[in-house]
Amino acid sequence: MTRRLEAASGASVGAPERRFESIPAAARLAAVLIAAAILMSFARGPIAVGQTTLNGLVSAGYLALGAVGLTLVFGTLRIINFAHGDLLTLGAYLTFGISALGLPFWPAAAVAVALTAVIAYALDFIIWEPMRRARTSTLQLFLVAIGLAIVIRYTIQFFAGSQVRGVGQDVLTSVNLGPFHLGALQALVLVVGVVAIAAVGLALAFTRLGKQIRALSDNMALAEVCGIDTRRAVRLIWLIAGGLAALAGVLYAAAVGSVNPNFGFFILLGLFTAAVLGGIGSAYGALAGGIVIGLAQEWSTLFFNTRWKPVVGFAILIVMLLVMPRGIFGGGRARS
């Protein structure tokens, strides 16, 4: 109970300030990253650093897209949505299913994104909202998320089988930028990812609904008192989260070239890391977090054996939570 009161009294209309706070934070982050790249070039040569940077930015694409939905839901509804990764998988597999009915890949993907958004909303309607009304504990929400993750993943596997599925897109064409190369599809993923993040971020900053959502993530009760239609905002959050997750899943599948039903869950912790790193609740933060994690993982291969790549993300997460728990863009309180 005490924590609620603290939150209510501490809540201000802090939303507008954050938009401007984020610029120096972004600049600082960019400066740190560029400095790191320059330093590493002395050790490993600019070409190696440049190539791994490009590779890292590609990973940042799917990490960031996946993380945005996660951070919005976590930030506003305080749900650690362990099922989020499986929404990515759902998006990818729905695309396969729909394209098997005759639609070409990208239109099928668009339909799948819309469908997943609707499913995410339906899940909120059936499961999350009743629990919110009953004011259930974090533990219960967490367990429901786990259960949901299991159900979604294994239902996909039930219908689609566990074997790896090729995506049927051209994964081999490379785009050459001087001494560097990038897969054409991967470049597409990167571009779409950045555009999507920018779009979401701008919408949050400048539309009325966006401002309402930000007010919600500060304090749900206060927002209701202020007359904000929280139910509508929540519905929209789920639609956005579900849609973006599906988009991330489709792009991941397209860029990697093949998927299996476990892939969403495998990258889930990476998504959490990106979200926490960037600051819970901040869409820009998700992008920043995705970039940092993506770059860090690829840069680590310059100095450490590639087998340690997965650990890099977790290690950064722990260090972040100990040292700078509010994240780069400083959303929300992390200490109790």
Binding site: R4, F74, I127, P130, T136, T138, L269, I318, A334
Partner: protein, 311 residues
């Protein structure tokens, strides 16, 4: 034959006992201290591997390696706690799960821990004990299934831990813990070192995880990182919620029921392909988890009143 095969159910009993001990630690954290410990499998990994490495690499006898492993796991728990207990509850959960995954990856990749080849051969003394015990049991007519000595050992330990935890809960220490769970700030205001209590709770959970890990290692005779997946922890939480929030007895009931259910489902013969049958088992477990959390979060033996964990 088939469904009522003795060997099979003795095996299930062993697994249920292991999960029981594991989840007793979770219950202490979640039900009685208010900590969402998602890294219990990581503590189990540290403890089991420590024991395995001490026996195989350093040549220690099992009887010494096991207590030493508990100490090491508790130290790991203390480390994690010191670093992250000041974070808010859900962030703490994420840190513990990241810790658990790091541990698993390290053991999978580091040469000192056997890497992908895992560790084997640490159970010679246990096997000797087991065959001696089997002979004794055969003499009194209980020698049917090979795993009976292990079953007895696991369950004896489980019930001992249960009794110990119950006693602990009734002690002054336990009462402070409950106060912390219900209102941290009030407890702190009364002069209790909340942080220290939480740390102790985490340490005890790590010890219990190690004990569970010991039996797991003996059951499987091979230490391999995939045994210490986060899904082990998630399953433990399923046991916890089924058995009942803040009920140690419930943990035992929950473990038996859930293990019996998930393993028993192996015998369900539906006109499905093998792959689909495999997926279906998991879908059923997931649905149970969702329904329980939504409709009967206090589980079988817990009480709703105890569930006002956090608003």
């Amino acid at each position: 034959m088939s469904f009522f095969d003795l060997d099979f159910w003795v095996g299930v009993g062993v697994v249920a006992g292991i999960y029981g001990i594991f989840t007793l630690g979770l219950q202490l954290n979640v039900g009685f201290t208010g900590l969402i410990n998602l890294g219990q499998a990581g503590f189990m990994c540290v403890g089991a591997y420590a024991m395995g490495m001490l026996v195989v690499d350093a040549g220690w006898p099992l009887g010494l390696a096991f207590p030493a492993a508990i100490v090491i796991a508790v130290a790991a728990g203390a480390l994690v706690g010191l670093a992250s207990l000041r974070l808010r509850a859900d962030y703490f959960g994420i840190v513990t799960i990241a810790f658990s995954e790091i541990v698993r990856y390290v053991f999978q990749n580091a040469a000192f821990a056997g890497g992908n080849q895992g560790i084997i051969g640490y159970d010679a003394e246990w096997r000797a004990f087991q065959s001696w015990a089997s002979e004794r049991l055969a003499a009194i007519g209980l020698g049917e299934a090979a795993e009976v000595p292990l079953l007895v050992a696991v369950w004896a330990t489980l019930l001992l831990c249960l009794a110990a935890l119950r006693a602990l809960q009734l002690s002054p220490w336990g009462r402070v813990l409950k106060a912390i769970r219900e209102d941290e700030d009030a407890a702190a205001a009364l002069g209790k070192n909340v942080f220290a209590f939480k740390l102790q709770s985490l340490g005890i959970a790590a010890a219990l995880a190690t004990i569970a890990g010991f039996f797991l290692a003996m059951n499987v005779t091979y230490l391999y990182p995939s045994e210490f997946d986060p899904s082990f922890t998630f399953f433990g939480y399923a046991v916890l919620i089924l058995g009942g929030f803040a009920s140690y007895g419930g943990v035992v009931v929950g473990a038996v029921l859930l293990c019996a259910l998930t393993e028993g489902l192996r015998f369900l013969d539906l006109p499905l392909s093998a792959g689909q049958a495999g997926s279906l088992r998991f879908i059923i477990v997931g649905l149970i988890l969702i329904c329980l959390s939504m409709f009967r979060p206090q589980g079988l033996l817990g009480s709703k009143a105890e569930m006002q964990l956090r608003a």
